[in-house]
Symmetry: D2
Subunit: 416 residues, 4 copies
């Protein structure tokens, strides 16, 4: 980036597309960028968060945005970003389903498309300098081309806005509407896949999360006292239909399926985790996440995958999935390696097809049964009651050959 | 093994130590081995299953066992086998906590010790020819030395006992007490860590497990309506104390800790799974497992480990843990590679130390908070409110250098 | 397999397709199979070994083969089996280029095609019971279907033919021509890709291989005193042309390219190794190999791949290549996992394109230079003399962020 | 680091320990640092490079170094850094033996020890902003503590010294002796393990390296016409003795062994490679390396390791070795993960013991034979002539069980 500090003396610095949330931070950034001499286009992606998009539009216009984009990305978010993550069983450090990570490349891609379409030289965002999102956002940009302005890493900016008080003062001075409700003592990030909570009082890893924190899922203690049973149908590793078994109700477009699973999971308090994770930037942070629909899908997909995929293919695919999750977390969606791994994982899903029945109840997902036209499960072969096409004597040879190495490895013998 | 079929004509075939359960199968094997000309020593390991050990002892004696061993292995099972699995976060195919697998080398080790002590030439077991347990059992034996007789893989035996009816007839003919209660329409295997259920009506992967199947955990629907909160303290990656936070009650020996976690988990219906898994022998099978204490520990250990272990060390350890789980599942506990991996994992656990608070409720484990004297979590460094010893500008360079490759990799640019 | 021992009493046992080499062993097997009651079709694959195919044909006919197939598989061997191995940089245990392994699925595939076409119920081979080849051969068969007769694992056979003397006697008795030249004190296996030598006097791992062992490569001490310089052109990871730089001579079909590289490598003594390797069957064995053309290609491909492939893609591909080499060695070419991995590796090779110049001299391959239209090498970016599109300050941030973890990891500080 | 640009106005900026080579660059840095207001201590490590250490000492003193350290690190370089790399079979991207990488933590460690001992606040080096060495150097420093001054990344410095001409002018102006011989049209880095050559005319990846480039190894064309045969004895994976078989001469301290292998390898032109590699910083660069002794050891160690290590242990160790090589290349020697991996690899080497005979000739290393008291090679077991303790029938079961999966995996059947 041409360092903005030297650009102060220039009157037409060019156009910036700013990822705008409507909140205090990005409103201040909008005004500050204008002050610095940029034309500002704001861009707000609808990826399923609860938001007053009209109000945000008006606010941006009133603060001097040259143009305002509100983009509904929900369908492509599900199909192009969440679905590949489901195929990969993407889970970071064994626990986190990557709800924030997976939204970033989706949001940034459209921002860059707008920048190109509008002939803007820069894109900008309000992500902080210690987090993962700045990286996820910017790596997408660098992969796809433009220049970035990251105010929270520009000394002129971050030294001016040291705390929330400075933002508030600046807002008042510049006619930026100030939130009337007090800020929650933590920050959150919401989209169709999840809500994450971090910082503030949550920074103490020992203190328990307050019960009223969660917005997307019911407290399991208050959830219904009887389960809902769902059937999810998969093809090529992605859900193509979900049916409420008792009610007979079903959904069959990606966005509807995912929204319905969110509703069901939310009702039963499914998908809450409280973890300490390792940021790409090297520090450990504490995050609380609720991922209702994603959690249901993770379990259902795992089940149908094991049912239809060869053991050794799955073992290799599992390793690729771990790598994919790391790339996704670190912001490398648009990297050569992530593109390669997505291709391989997609290939592995060709026969991941069939139906899984499961129940959701009090925060938990229980797999109940599964069936598939492409199952590799052979009921006769495995049966304890039928010999099938299997000679038990073969196992003797199998075991003995597997033990040939042990005879040589004297080290084993020390155990007795 | 000298093939037993040729040994029929010999009168003193030597002594066999038979892993004896007291059930119909191994009772028939006991008598059959005697018929074949062996002296039989029975051996029954107490690894925490519910069993009338006295009755089993008497039964074995009445059926002509030369000697009867009932061995309480519970403490060593927890300390030498379950604890290393907890350190490894051992989980097979992302779901199975390996409760059966981990018991096998523990049982087989003692059996071989007895065989040596008693000068027996053979060990024998009642594991079937299609399962994993025959392998787990026999690989341990081959690693540690003796000859094996596996009746369910000897044609003379398995062709004689094709179905349960044949066993019943044989039993009646030979004065073997026949069970009066009808056999459950599935088979089960129980120990301190878990109960597994498989075969019979469970062989149809689509049909749901009956509600009355589970013996170790309460149905979550019937579990208490308020959670229990526990604090587990770890040192070197293993629990050294568990405390019921409200009641103040605590346990601090391995066996007591694990038993108490089983009680708590069982009360709240924790640790039930229904999966299709890949056997070492190449077939897929359906298994239902309940692992109450093990499930709690898996989650608690994961939490304290991420809190205290460097990110990259953990990444390597995670890969080793996946390998360890496969070895354990496949029966390679006493292999050179498993010994090596256990050593490495143990080394990784040196500073995995601290306390985790969690609640158990309606089938679920919720992590609530954690603390540790060896934490690598730096509250000031990560804080959104304090800059700490961190310069946000560094992130710019970090991101740009990470993106250097992308500029060359034209393939990325096709996305727009 | 229906155990042949019980089939002795039956007069029309069906037809066997026997992989026939023309040598003593498979000639005896041919006659023995006929004695046992089978109709025998012999099949001899030309995969580039030096052989009198006509003589072998006549011999088989004279020994009573019902039909004789001599199949020239050289082109498909190179294109469908060697080329994917080159793409994968397939190397077993860091040293062995898998020349024998890669031929097995190629040979077995055609054998099964013949079995189907001729309506044969069985295929048979002369591979011994301790080696890898029996597995490579039979896993291909099991994947592709038919029944196998492996005489060297049938007690009636191997107990009858304990040593070479028994084979000789049997041969004489049955009119099988006996070799007049004495057998070399080792065994060898030759094909277009390599010759392997093992057993006999080579079984002592300490004793040096005799100088006159090698048939495919010149002794480097006797090789020309000046190098030949070659240019190999790749597309999608496989060679499409080789040119002798000085002579201007070039080859551009797969079989011609590979044969020419063999000639060049052979002339300069390239590709000899003497190793101890781990067989799939669990034992260590000593093998000596000469792989002239394959060794040149391994080095040339490695060079053009690193030049044109993104670093992180290559890292993942490298891991897949290690797995591929193990599968290939163990005989799993026609397994679901190997098919999957080949697909992934093939995908990775899309832009592995360009020309490598190298010299071959006295047993060694020296890479001299490379060029590619798809290179990811950026001469300006890397230049020490030009700053290019690179800001050195970025490296400061990159390094500091990479070091964030270290500050927490006190363990590091013990080093001083 | 407190940014030096603001420090210009301060008179007592503290003490810097500068890694000083005696060359033009670091001489200019020395003087420049003094100009900037620092006290400068120079430090020159003897890690086996050919150098006039006395002259360098005098030069540093004459340029105003407050103190001059010349440190002989050769023995610790071999024992603490090269030996672990030999154990790991550390090789980067399948080709590079990491001779530069492995020296960096050794040099930096002593520099920091000096900084502490002398109470210096800073360390400094002359590594450029595009290379790997700045990272290797500084990550060591961050792990071990102090502040760094990297002039080639400070705009005031690198904008002043854009080309060699600027350095020359500065040198003349400040009485820094200017080299009289013209600079080679490439840069090089030498130590006991290797010499690397890069940049300048080598930046064109297509052009061949000039024949007179190499300083450590003879041109294979000019090397002796008969091989030297060596025997290397290992214990715990490191060489403890090398013997020239014909001459009977032997060496048995680490430094002597390594130096002797360099001499032998150098005489025969062993260890030259010309590669394009991927820098940590994301760009590809071309490097030419000669590593005579290291290449011999790599091959010898590989041989004795495979001979004495269990197959599956080795497979795991191989994966750890790949990771170790990447860490080493990227400069993470003093990281928690590298410490962990070194520990694991060291553990794996416990029984890597025995003697390897090899010959070196015209650029190549040929393994001739090996023997070991801890060999896992069982000559009787593997013998083609003796059945040994092995039942060929077992292989049938082994193969069939391995093929069980294939019967289900219909995908395989498409091949025919």
């Amino acid at each position: 980036m041409a360092s903005p500090k030297f650009l102060i003396f220039n009157f037409t610095l060019g156009t910036v597309v700013l990822a705008y949330s409507g909140g205090l931070d990005t409103s201040c950034i909008l005004v500050w960028l204008k002050e610095e001499g940029y034309d500002v286009i704001t861009y707000l992606a609808n990826i399923g968060q609860v938001e007053d998009f009209d109000a945000a539009k008006k606010k941006a216009e009133s603060l001097g945005a040259k143009k305002v984009f509100i983009e509904d990305l929900r369908a492509e978010f599900v199909e192009e970003f969440i679905w590949p993550s489901v195929q990969a069983s993407a889970i970071y450090e064994d626990r986190y389903l990557l709800g924030t990570s997976v939204a970033r490349p989706c949001i940034a891609r459209r921002q860059i498309q707008i920048a190109r379409q509008e002939g803007a030289q820069y894109v900008s965002h309000g992500a902080t300098g210690k987090g993962n999102d700045q990286i996820r956002f910017e790596l997408t940009c660098y992969a796809l081309y433009p220049e970035i302005i990251a105010p929270w890493r520009i000394p002129e900016f971050y030294n001016r806005f040291v705390g929330r008080k400075d933002l508030m003062e600046y807002a008042e001075k510049h006619g930026i509407p100030v939130p009337v409700t007090p800020k929650a003592p933590w920050s959150m990030d919401a989209n169709l896949m999840h809500i994450s909570y971090e910082s503030g009082i949550l920074e103490n890893p020992k203190s328990h999360a307050p019960a009223d924190l969660y917005l997307m899922t019911k407290n399991p203690e208050d959830a219904p006292n009887s389960p809902d049973v769902l059937e999810i149908e998969f093809k090529k590793g992605v859900p193509i239909k979900v049916t409420h078994v008792k009610e007979g109700k079903s959904k069959d477009t990606p966005l509807d399926i995912f929204s319905y699973l969110n509703e069901m999971g939310g009702r039963h308090g499914v998908g809450r985790i409280d973890i300490v994770e390792n940021r790409f930037i090297g520090m450990k942070s504490r995050g609380i996440y609720e991922t209702p629909g994603g959690t249901i899908l993770y379990h259902a997909h795992l089940d149908i995958e094991t049912f239809t995929m060869d053991r050794e293919v799955r073992r290799i695919k599992q390793g690729l999935g771990v790598k994919f999750a790391e790339m996704l977390y670190n912001g490398f969606w648009y990297s050569p390696e992530c593109e390669f791994v997505r291709h391989c994982i997609d290939k592995s899903q060709e026969s991941v097809e069939g139906k899984v029945q499961l129940s959701v109840f009090k925060g938990q997902v229980y797999i109940l049964g599964r069936e598939s036209p492409k199952s590799l499960y052979n009921e006769e072969l495995v049966s304890m009651d039928v010999q099938g096409d299997y000679d038990p004597c073969d196992a003797s040879g199998f075991i003995k050959i597997n033990a040939v190495r042990f005879v040589e490895a004297v080290s084993c013998k020390q155990y007795m």
